[in-house]
């Protein structure tokens, strides 16, 4: 097992994995502390939750906002792990829409506290430099814009509205999700279906207005001119 080429100093590398693991551990502690004491916990609380005292925390995070970002990143992973597949899945357009919407709703349903914590962002005092929520929404909207643009172009339609529409759709699902999280007056499947219906009708209407009769069961890249 002897290293043939000696690296700069093995002592520097020894902890690489450990540090990552420790950060993750503190992220978990933060989530736990928030669940226990509400979103306005202090660094002392987080440290206590992790069974450690404050300076230790500060060896792993430069800052309260650094810790917040780490938690946000964790949440982003949870979200993207679920949304990614739904976004790239192919198949009939109507079903894809429902799948994407439901993927999102399932994540916030399973992690409501984490979701609120990250989105409300009241954990950090000063405005944080990187707005993770905005970045996520942007990423999703950009992806949607591409899908939607492709879809429209497949009918030889103008895809100029794809970007604003994509952002509109993102906001739509998010806000409906927020409302639903607060007062859960219907099942998730029900809401997914309502939203997917709304979205499908909007898209269908766009096509109709261009004189195209689309079918919700059509695969994504449908009717592309075969010539």
């Amino acid at each position: 097992m002897a290293r043939t080429v000696k690296g700069p100093d093995a002592r520097r590398e020894r902890w690489k994995g450990h540090r990552e693991q420790r950060r993750a551990e503190f992220v978990e502690a933060t989530i736990a502390a928030v669940a226990r004491k509400g979103p306005d916990v202090g660094m002392d609380d987080v440290a206590a939750e992790a069974g450690v005292s404050k300076p230790v925390l500060y060896r792993h995070f430069t800052d309260k906002s650094d810790l917040y970002l780490a938690v946000g990143q964790k949440a982003t992973e949870l979200l993207m792990d679920r949304m990614g597949p739904a976004l790239v899945a192919d198949g009939p357009i109507r079903g894809r829409i429902a799948g994407i919407v439901d993927a999102y709703l399932s994540v916030i349903e399973e992690n409501p506290n984490l979701y609120k914590f990250v989105v409300k962002g009241s954990f950090v005092d000063r405005p944080v430099e990187k707005d993770l929520v905005a970045e996520d929404k942007n990423l999703i909207a950009t992806t949607l814009a591409r899908i939607l643009g492709d879809y429209l172009r497949s009918f030889d339609m103008d895809s100029g509205g794809a970007e604003p529409w994509a952002h509109a759709l993102v906001g739509m699902v998010q806000n409906a999700g927020d409302w639903w999280l607060d007062r859960q007056t219907m099942s998730r499947a029900n809401l997914s279906d309502y939203l997917a219906t709304l979205i499908w009708h909007a898209i269908d209407g766009l096509l109709r207005s261009a004189g195209i009769q689309a079918d919700p069961g059509q695969p994504l890249t449908p009717l592309r001119l075969v010539d």
Copy 2:
């Protein structure tokens, strides 16, 4: 002008109007300070902007969050003054939608800094007890739900989805507005039209799916069974 019935003590009443005016003055100062120094201004900055020192400010606002709420209330007024008429206006449905959307966009276009300040809420350190933004969104969504429900019922359709749809629409317009405020790549009229088109098509699709052929030029309470 002598009072016949003597009130408890006129000295108590003497300032009633004055206090209101003073609060408004500090609200303005806050907006100015934010415009000048970014959203993370301190109370000292606000006081300085008003040409006064901190304790004076605290005679009129119990709290930083109290001041924030006052600014938010001011913003709500601006918004509702513009949206109220658009919401209650009657006329063809397609035009009403465009009017409502454009009313909203016009407000955020004219007060982008105030808008971001209130929505991001990074002025207050701890979570504030009253979420004005959520309340506004709720108010608008509730109104929309009523309008939409009435519209659907006028076709004898099930209006069960009206509430989630209303919240979805609110989020949709807000998020598209945020995107547009950031990178203004199109005119307001253009965006309004894109969004109104999307919304109209969604509604139209709902009606179609129930076998009803609607006309975007129809007045709001259309085709009610005349029998």
